[in-house]
Symmetry: C2
Subunit: 678 residues, 2 copies
Amino acid sequence: MSTPHLNLMPAPANLQFGEGQLLVAQSFSVGIVGYKEARLERAARRFVQNLSRRTGLPFAVQLVDPAKATFVIHAERASRAVQELDEDESYTLEITSRGANLSAPNPLGVLRGLQTFLQLVEITPDGFAAPALKIEDKPRFVWRGLMIDVGRHFMPLDVLKRNLDGMEAVKMNVFHWHLSDNQGFRTESKKLPKLHEMGSDGLYYTQAETRELIEYARDRGIRVVPEFDVPGHATSWFVGYPELASAPGPYAVENRWGILDAEMNPANEETYRFLDKFIGEMAELFPDEYFHIGGDEVKGKQWDANPEIQKFMREHKFTTHRELQEYFNARIEKILIKHHKKMIGWDEVLSPSLPKDIVIQSWRGQKSLAEAAKQGYRGLLSFGYYLDLMHSASQHYGVDPLSDEAGMLTPEEQKSILGGEACMWTEYATPENIDSRIWPRTAVVAERLWSPQDVQDVDAMYERVESVSIELEDLGLTHRSSERRMLRRIAGTDAIAPLLVLADVVEPLKEYVREEEATKAGVVLSRNDPLNRLVDGVPPESEASRRFARAVDRLLAGDLRGGATETEIRASLLVWRENDAALQPLLQRSYLLKELIPLSHKLAGLADAGIQALDYRDRDELAPAEWTTAQLAFIEEARKPQADLLLMILPPVHSLVESVSSPHSESPKPAPEPAGTP
Amino acid sequence: MSTPHLNLMPAPANLQFGEGQLLVAQSFSVGIVGYKEARLERAARRFVQNLSRRTGLPFAVQLVDPAKATFVIHAERASRAVQELDEDESYTLEITSRGANLSAPNPLGVLRGLQTFLQLVEITPDGFAAPALKIEDKPRFVWRGLMIDVGRHFMPLDVLKRNLDGMEAVKMNVFHWHLSDNQGFRTESKKLPKLHEMGSDGLYYTQAETRELIEYARDRGIRVVPEFDVPGHATSWFVGYPELASAPGPYAVENRWGILDAEMNPANEETYRFLDKFIGEMAELFPDEYFHIGGDEVKGKQWDANPEIQKFMREHKFTTHRELQEYFNARIEKILIKHHKKMIGWDEVLSPSLPKDIVIQSWRGQKSLAEAAKQGYRGLLSFGYYLDLMHSASQHYGVDPLSDEAGMLTPEEQKSILGGEACMWTEYATPENIDSRIWPRTAVVAERLWSPQDVQDVDAMYERVESVSIELEDLGLTHRSSERRMLRRIAGTDAIAPLLVLADVVEPLKEYVREEEATKAGVVLSRNDPLNRLVDGVPPESEASRRFARAVDRLLAGDLRGGATETEIRASLLVWRENDAALQPLLQRSYLLKELIPLSHKLAGLADAGIQALDYRDRDELAPAEWTTAQLAFIEEARKPQADLLLMILPPVHSLVESVSSPHSESPKPAPEPAGTP
């Protein structure tokens, strides 16, 4: 199914158009029939407020007699007291020119349907209106999550709240709160207060704030799953409680990034007593039935160095770190059961010794997920959904929890795959730029997890994501506005037009290349590094480059609109070529812009190569071999990361140059395209 | 004194440059010596956070040992427990390449000096830095206020808070909170709860919120003066308490704008008992020594119609409404004294019967102010500072409390003029667009009230206001971002480039012409009218038109840069002429844009007239009389308001056309330029 002309994201399971449209005028009103609860009324009022924001019409926030309401909400019964993963989220939304009915088995479906209606309202020549239609909708997967790491960079409550608003808008239902890591312990523990007091830089969530956020999430149909990562990623625990560690310490909150050595001591009974006390307290604070214990990236270096742990391993006939961690996990699992929680952990926790109701969250991929499913474990996909790796929306869109090895599972086994989670690790994210790392790409993951598997049209996705992106900004997210603010600051002026031209065609380095570049330069990256450079301000995906690449594709494919396409391509190339002269004075004036001086030159050079290639095409000539050699050498040089950025018009310019080159031109062996480009 | 190359606004009283600059690097730290209090520490931490925001450098928020601090704060002693109007706000800021010292008699001066430093920090080729200098600064006037009317459109607490942040940034010190009007009573009264319960649409500030805002303001060195407007503008009081009114009622909260009839009954002793109870409660809630009773725009219609009031007037030998209101004010004044408050009111309260410590806030002008001063009353100027009238920054800048009649007062009499207040009446302002009505123009009023009288350079002001405008947005104000958001919504797309071209050269109708146009059309304007049209989104002043007009002035004055100037003018005119074709399809698609169809045509027509005029100039020709006649007729037609907007390039195009016209061309008698243009 394709709904490119409707701004729905995620696309619904079933949609039938009716006749006409429903005008959303000042008289618009909402009423509730059937089951009632305070949350539903709050949702209805929030819906009206959002509709006011989308239209600028000052609707009355009060609910009205349903017999007279334009929009009638009908839930049959309550949802569970604490939201569970198998709850029905389906809804039916019927819109006619006279009114709209939204009905659902329980309030969760109502929440989903309200978001659908909000997306359907558009401005028309006659007023704001939603098309007459009938949507019968339900999610493909029951677990559609977003993880935010607040350990590495703390995110204030309002940042989390606006992201929950974004999640609600795209029908996600799990907020996975990564609350502890080497770099920070972020939850207040009243029983073990040295955890947050000594394990953080003073930035943590009080229990009252935690409850407030859980309540905020519940209002939006979102479960909150806390993660406290053990036995690795745990330095921050050891600052206050060094006795938990496998090496004596002392420990300080870690500022460096990377996989570190500090590990909990699984051979010490004290560790389990401590965790029992801690988990007991947290189990009360977090109502969700799942409790994430992390379990990833344990190196075992401290274990090897500790004679008591070595002795313990010999006594238990453990020969590998893995066996020791399995023992540790099994002990934790018992503690979780005692406190009525189910375990969830990363791939590494998978072992046949654990009961089958644990959930595996896979950062390794569909193969790992399929293996777990075959063993009877349920799983979530996060591989392919790591937002911090700066991949494009289309790459995330192409990742399906039921593809590859998971696609070959039996239908029964496939039922074990609950869904997936987009993951936002925050080495390079601050409250200022995190929204631009999460949105709008997470909307694409949300669609993959909600919509039917055959919703796959990438061009239509990009059209719709543009609309949802505006909707998200209007909700208070800052993924678009933050860039301009940061660029102004970097430039020290509001006259940043030429800087925007450059910013619009670059992307941050993909995957872990930023770290690799730093390692090459002998730099240890840490939380002390200001995230105030261009790389930290630009979005992960360059929309201008994507459009340019599409135009070049069309041109080279001999598209019939060739004339207009070439005009468009040439116009862009001219802007990029001329921009350098306008930009250089700006770059000289700011210490944060100096690093862009060569990058701006290279953009001009690439644009020039592209223009010359177009000229050859226009003359129906092949370029001389020397020209080709020179251009390709320049392109290879421009391919090198600069200022942690990639010039995203490089691949299409490369294609243009090659399209006018004789096949036998001598060209340097091309390096692979920048990692992460589609 | 002129400081165009520093981004200071308001400009300081004294400034001497030193050698070099102070780099603001990651190691930047703040310490406090001398007098200490919690407010000062909060201010220092907020300062560090703001500095982080301005630089993107993650400074430690903790204060350090002053001996090791980069920036040392020194206050000598406490300010008063409740901020008073005659408190010393002076400070000395000394910056060298090694560090900075900020010293002040009390914390108020520190608050002012911190803002100065924040504005001084700029990006340089070497890093963020502040120039070495010494500033000795103090305000010219003690009362530098901003009034916000929350009666007509309620403004949520966060809107007020971000505006207080803006006030702090430009060193304003009084927030005048217009809390009641015909259209809404916005403060919770525990003793008389029908005031807020029945006198509002459910939107009011609880007493806890009120205290929170007062505390927030105090932290920023801002007094909070409440206004409860009596005896007119009081319909909202009468909904719950009709016995206070001069006519029996019943009353409903008013949605219409304008000066209405409902008036309190001054002849009824019950009125004074009620006000005693009410003022007693409010006097405890609001700690400031001043209490604003409004007192404006009493028509006396209800008084005339009420036989008991007529009888009362005869008994007291009152022959005018004014005498009756004087009696009323004198009674209120006694109640205020009983509750330890001083009275402030609009011009109309001025009468020789009142004691000399009341303050007159003048919406009528310097003449009214001078009269009050001669009678020994103190006064504030608000005439010329009405933000809702959509005047330009330069117009507000040109208004001085000590000019005209007030400028002719003796030095002793001039001391009675305490300062002024920018006033934001909210008929056409919502939480969404109010910031763009207040900022950045209020920064200009703030400078007029703080800086020496001879700071007058308008071009330098516009340069600095651009910087302060960015600073204000970074503080969380939305005066710039809201426009784009609203335009996107109106257009239903993010591709609004041609709409922005039009939006950038229009301004909302000035003064009360919007009402006059409505009256002509037989429309009664009210709170029910959505404020979602282009007129509600564009800023009060068109920066593009201002620059264009300046360029045309230069050209016509024979500026030596004529060639470049003409190129600039022609380029702008071409954009405006060509824009219509790109914009029209967008205008057709949205019911909110349709009204702009003729306006866009007219913009193109004006631009075409300008281009043709340039062509005549280039050929050193005078235009034929028929051409001139046709162009002037077109210009007169284009002058008519359309969609409540003015085309601001009209006056300079008019000048261009006239510059190539023979002096004897027959031209229609020109109407005055649009009201409010400089």
